[in-house]
Structures are given as C-alpha cells and as structure tokens.
C-alpha cells in the first residue's frame, strides 16, 4: 500500500453554544505516503488540531472521508500514536507505567518493548520518576515513548514542543529526527513553528486561516540531518513564512 493516510474533501463544522455554525475545515484533501514525515503549518486557531483528531478517529468529519491504511479511522482497530499539545501524562503513574499504558489497554504489555522505547528516548535512569519530578522536555519524551510503545502505524503530533523553551525544543527536534530515521514511522506533525517544520518534514502543507484549506505544498528536498543555518534551509523557511504572511499579515 503506497498511501498510509488518505484525506478526501474533508470539511468540519462545529455548532457553538450560541447555535452558530462554525466551519473549521474546508474541503481538505491530501495523501500521506508510508514512512513520510508530513508537517502542517498554519495560523493559530486554523483547525490543525481538529484535522489531527479526525485522522485519529477522535472526531468525525462533517463531510468527506478519511482512510488510514485503507479503513475509516478507528482507534480500536488501528494502532495510533498521538502526542498531545497539552500536558497529557497520567500524574499518578511513573515514567514506566505511563509508557506501558497503551500496551496495557491493548492487553499486550511486554516489559521488553517498554524497555526498548525507554532507551530510545533516553530515560533509562528515570523509570520510577513521577511526571511532576520531570522537566518539560523529559515529560515530552515520555509522551513520545508512550505513543511509540504500541508500535503505531501512524504517529500524530499536535504542536508537541510548543510549550518548551527554545533550547529544549532544539534538542527535541534532533531527537525526533533520529527516532524517525530509526523507525521510519509515518508521522504527521502540526506546528506553527516554521523552523521545526523545515527541519523535520519531507513535505510541508501550509494551511489557510479558518476555515482551513491546503494553501501550498512544499517538498523539503534537503539532505538530513539538516543544518538550520544553511542558506537553503533559510530559503525554505522564508518561503513558508511568506505564505503564512499572506494569511496573517501581522507576522
């Protein structure tokens, strides 16, 4: 199967408490290749999160259809790794127990798998720590490890590093890059950080303001690991920022 995810003419409406209809997504179509790293960038509040939630099967599109591995998304059938924007670790579970959560739910807990992902994200010495004892970057690593533990067929990341400081974010970019190199998991990452998108993505889709449409598709044909200071890198970055500026002139 060539495409891991197919999104066809998806629109989404919400009805807000005042009874007004709010359109979030407008006729969005795209396909994601197996093993691809796809990034969405778009103005904040444009509906990026909703798009990810629809792909994960947490929400249904108002019209159009989504296929993940050729089927309607259903977390009970397809293994999905989701890294949420907000703090989403179970505060009452330590690092180990947080990471094993997905396996536990699916009834195939295996300490060896947990051990492997713990090593992958470099948390060997923090297995028994509780989330409140960890730094922001470490908590993100736990969230990524938890998503990876179930051997997901796709990984969805919703602004995973938005709340980290610049330095930690930089480190996380490198780590996520090397994880992707190792595992080659199909990944869709949503961000408003253009640098992040150019550093990580095979392809960047720029979204318009709400209701979101796909405005532009950019293939990042740079060799990896990428140098954030190289002139080509900066050219890609400027190009994408240019598209964003058309949507949000204040940038």
């Amino acid at each position: 199967m060539k495409y891991k995810v197919e999104v066809e003419k998806v629109s989404k409406f919400f009805v807000n408490p005042n009874g007004e209809r709010l359109q979030v997504l407008d006729n969005i179509s795209f396909k994601v290749y197996d093993g691809e790293f796809l990034c969405f960038v778009g103005p904040s509040g444009c509906g990026k999160t909703t798009l990810l939630r629809i792909i994960a099967g947490l929400e249904k599109p108002s019209s159009g259809r989504v296929r993940v591995e050729g089927e309607t998304p259903n977390p009970k059938k397809i293994r999905i790794g989701f890294v949420f924007q907000e703090e989403a670790l179970f505060p009452w579970r330590n690092v180990w127990d947080n990471i094993k959560f997905g396996l536990e739910v699916r009834g195939n807990y295996n300490p060896k798998i947990v051990e492997d992902v713990v090593r992958l994200v470099g948390l060997e010495n923090f297995k028994s720590y509780y989330p409140h004892q960890l730094s922001g970057g470490m908590r993100k690593r736990v969230a990524i490890a938890r998503a990876l533990a179930v051997n997901p067929s796709i990984i969805l990341m919703d602004e995973p590093f938005g709340d980290l400081d610049a330095q930690t974010r930089w480190i996380m970019h490198k780590e996520l890059y090397s994880i992707h190199e190792k595992l080659k998991k199909t990944t869709i990452l949503v961000t408003h950080n253009v640098e992040e998108a150019v550093y990580l993505a095979d392809r960047v889709l720029v979204l318009t303001r709400r209701p979101a449409k796909v405005k532009k598709e950019i293939f990042i044909g740079l060799e990896r690991p990428r140098n954030k200071l190289s002139s080509q890198f900066i050219r890609f970055r400027e190009e994408i920022i240019g598209f964003l500026r058309e949507e949000v002139p204040e940038i």
């Binding site: 994960a56 099967g57 947490l58 977390p75 009970k76 059938k77 293994r79 999905i80 989701f82 949420f84 907000e86 703090e87 989403a88 179970f90 505060p91 009452w92 579970r93 330590n94 959560f101 997905g102 536990e104 739910v105 699916r106 509780y130 989330p131 409140h132 004892q133 960890l134 730094s135 938890r146 179930v150």
Partner: protein, 263 residues
C-alpha cells in the same frame, strides 16, 4: 533535609506538649475555683480511667469491650457508606443528568442530622441495623460528594489519550476517571469516617446493647459520675484522632505522586 525535618517534628511535639500542659493546668485551676463535686480535676479523670481500665465499669464490662464495640460498629456503618457512596458518586459524577434528577431528594436529605433519624430508627429497625443506619448517615454524604467532585476533575486530554489507544468505556472509567478521582475519594472516606465516628454516641443511645463508649458516657451521666463520663469523651476524641492520622498516613503513601517536588 532529614535532620531539618526531624527538627521540625520535634519542635511541633514540644509545642504541643507545652500547650497540653497549660491546658491541664488551667483545668486544674478552674476545678479549684469552681470546687464542685461535679467538676473533676485532671487527676480525678486519670483515676477514673485507671479504674475503668483495670476493673471495668460499674457493671464489670471492660474498657476494651467498650472500645471494640464502638469501633466495630463505626467500621460497619462506614463500610456500608463506602460501598454505597463510591459507586453512586461515580455514576452521578459521570452522568450529570442522574445527579440533576435526584438532587431534590439528595440535597435536603444531607442536611437532616443523623440525630433526627433516631426516633425513626427506633421504630423501624432493631439491633445492629440501628447503629449502622445512624453511622451510615454520617459517613455517606462526604464520601458521595467527594467522589462526585473527584470524578469531575479529570483532565479531558487524559480521556483522549485512553481513547486514542482504543480503550473501551470501562477502561476509561477505571484507568483515567477513577484513578484521577482516587485522592478525593480517599479524602471523602477520611472525612466520612470522622463524621461516622462522631455519630457513635447518638447511635449507642438507641442501640440497646450494654457496651460501647457512647453507651458508657450515657450510663455514667445517669450515675452522675462525671469523671467516668469524661474518660469516655476523651477516648472518643483520641480514637477519632488516631483513625484520622492513620488515614492521612495511608493517603500520603498512596498518593506520593501528588507531592509537589520538582527536580
């Protein structure tokens, strides 16, 4: 860190020792001033305690029998409150409609003091059921309300995490909603046990059995043996304190993930 902690607890202990001594001293002065046969001094109470401990009460029932009787009754009523309060709190916390529908029954009910139920309990129930009803009434509502409140504090993102891993409803309730509510459920249990324990005298007024600390107080009251009465009161206070402290300790251990320590 450890020595600082030790120093702090030692200081607290010393402070409490001092205030307790002052309290007993003031009591002594008051008893001298009042100088009434019905106002015992601390030593009289201590003496009454020793007699109760060594010889039992006026009917020869030992102090341990009284204590065991009261504690087991409270634990029974409390146990009933736990097995009713937690599931109901869980259901009503999850389904606001359920709570909304029974609000007009529940809310007034919880303001009727357990003592007001005594005549009804005498007419309708006998023996152990009477104790259990009165103590259950005290313990049930804190457990119910805390469970309900705890259920609602769950972070919706955590439910999404479970959903995205394909969790069914039952797993979501057990592994996210209830786990999240557990500290509040425990706090509700602690408060419920305390309130249930405070209902012991009321319950034993009507139980009709010859043992129990509440019964002891009432009996010695009728005999105008004030020292013996106070022994019963103080014991109720101390046992309540011990139960509360034990609970707090268990809470601290079980919920150590809550402790606000950062790296």
């Amino acid at each position: 860190m450890a020595s600082k902690f030790l120093g702090k607890s030692y200081k607290t202990f010393l402070n409490n020792f001092v205030s307790l001594t002052i309290f007993l001293f003031l009591w002594e002065i008051l008893s001298i001033t009042i100088s009434s046969p019905f106002f015992p001094n601390p030593l009289d109470v201590w003496e009454a305690f020793l007699i109760l401990l060594l010889k039992g009460d006026v009917e020869g029932i030992s102090l341990t029998t009284h204590i065991v009787a009261s504690v087991s009754r409270v634990l029974l009523g409390f146990g009933l409150a736990v097995v009713t309060g937690i599931p109901l709190g869980l259901v009503m916390g999850l389904k606001r409609v359920a709570y909304g529908s029974v609000r007009s029954i529940l809310e007034p009910l919880r303001f009727i003091p357990p003592i007001a139920w005594i005549p009804l309990a005498i007419i309708l129930l006998t023996g152990c059921a009477r104790y259990m009803l009165i103590i259950w009434l005290g313990a049930f509502f804190p457990i119910l309300l805390n469970t309900m409140a705890g259920v609602q504090t769950v972070n919706p993102t955590l439910i999404d995490v479970a959903k995205v891993f394909g969790a069914d409803k039952k797993t979501i309730v057990v592994k996210t909603v209830f786990s999240n509510a557990l500290p509040e459920v425990f706090a509700g249990m602690r408060i419920g046990l305390g309130v249930g324990w405070m209902c012991i005298v009321a319950a034993e007024m009507i139980g009709g059995e010859m043992a129990g600390l509440g019964w002891l107080i009432l009996k010695y009251g009728e005999l105008l043996n004030v020292s013996g009465m106070i022994v019963g009161m103080v014991l109720i206070g101390i046992i309540g304190l011990l139960m509360n402290e034990t609970f707090l300790r268990v809470e601290k251990r079980v919920f150590r993930w809550r402790r606000e320590v950062t790296l």
